[in-house]
């Protein structure tokens, strides 16, 4: 991922005004600068009517949010609906967004977690069969099969964890967020997050031990 430097509001204004005045060719070239802007600055640019900013924001954050929703719901259609709804909420809140607010990504994670929770409440536990609709980047077909089996086993095991442990483990080990970010998303201290993750992982190991042989593990 490209590094994002935070731009001040003045810089955003200056950049947007220069963007408006350029010819199409120059505009295409300068659209690359959007990728250097922070998420918050992009949101400010979006509110000022620059749709390119929304595009960059979606490119940057949509895969993470969609992936999170998918691992929570186990169904791609539901996950994509929830992702769309999450971004819809972002566009709606954008004009009243303050730069002192939480990071855009943190806010999106909070929203997607709540939407997934609501969706879960309305439905029974997701079916593992739905997890089959996937693309796998593994090298060989054997690897793909192994990955798929492990993924299904992990889903099954994670569904046995208490909700907060499951969420903390998913955010840390599947979404690959830092503990500080998870603490902010879950509104907990970093120590509490570490404790949740440790307990969750211990329980997962216990559950998955039973399936070791089925999943082709030979070592003790």
């Amino acid at each position: 991922m490209k590094s994002s430097r935070k731009l001040s509001n003045d810089e955003v204004e200056f950049f947007l005004s220069s963007f408006d005045n350029k010819s199409n060719e120059q505009t295409e070239h300068s659209s690359a600068h959007f990728y250097e802007m922070s998420d918050n600055s992009l949101l400010v640019a979006y509110v000022k009517g620059t749709n390119q900013a929304a595009r960059v924001l979606v490119d940057r954050l949509m895969p993470k949010i969609r992936s999170h929703a998918y691992y929570r719901l186990g169904n791609i259609d539901d996950a994509e609906d929830v992702t769309q709804e999450t971004f819809l909420k972002l566009w709606k809140i954008a004009p009243s967004w303050k730069k002192d607010n939480a990071k855009v990504s943190t806010w999106l994670y909070r929203v997607v977690i709540n939407l997934c929770h609501d969706k879960h409440r309305r439905k029974t536990l997701y079916s593992l069969d739905t997890v089959s609709d996937i693309v796998n980047n593994s090298h060989s077909s054997i690897d793909k099969l192994a990955d798929k089996s492990r993924q299904i086993a992990l889903y099954s095991a994670m569904s046995e964890l208490p909700a907060r442990q499951r969420l903390a483990v998913q955010l840390r080990h599947i979404d690959e967020l830092k503990n500080t970010e998870i603490a902010e998303i879950m509104d907990l201290s970093v120590e509490a997050v570490e404790s949740l993750i440790a307990r969750g992982k211990r329980k997962l190991i216990e559950i998955l031990e039973i399936h070791k042989s089925e999943l082709g593990y030979r070592y003790e």
Binding site: A54, M62, R66, W91, I134, V135, N137, I174, K201, I205
Partner: protein, 122 residues
């Protein structure tokens, strides 16, 4: 103990890694749907913002108009009293030119007042 823990950790990490590698198929129109929402909402902001901007301008104009009218009214009031109580020097020549320096004594209580003017025409 540590060795066992490390093996278990590795074992679990395999599962996490497999889940990360196993990426759901992206439906091609999801991004377009999200961007369509963004455009729609942004255009609604713009259409709402213009009346707001106009409203602000009208409020400014309105504020100025109220101030101007009150100031004008007060000035007229003061000038009116001034002219009423202290007859200015320039009022006499103006009255002479307009021939309004003489005030006719008219008895408006006479019941036949003005009748001769009407009958004179006939």
């Amino acid at each position: 103990m540590n060795k066992t823990k490390s093996k278990s950790e590795n074992y679990l990490n395999d599962f996490f890694e497999s889940s990360r590698y196993t990426i759901p198929v992206l439906k091609s129109d999801l991004k377009e749907r999200i961007l369509a929402d963004a455009n729609e909402i942004n255009s609604s902001y713009n259409s709402i913002q213009i009346p707001f901007l106009l409203n602000d301008k009208l409020k400014t104009i309105n504020g100025n108009a109220v101030f101007s009218s009150i100031t004008g009214l007060a000035a007229c009031l003061v000038l009116g009293f001034y002219i009423g109580f202290t007859s200015p020097d320039w009022s006499e020549p103006v009255a002479t030119v307009l021939k309004i320096n003489q005030i006719d004594q008219v008895d408006i209580t006479d019941p036949f007042f003005g009748l001769e003017l009407i009958l004179g025409d006939i």
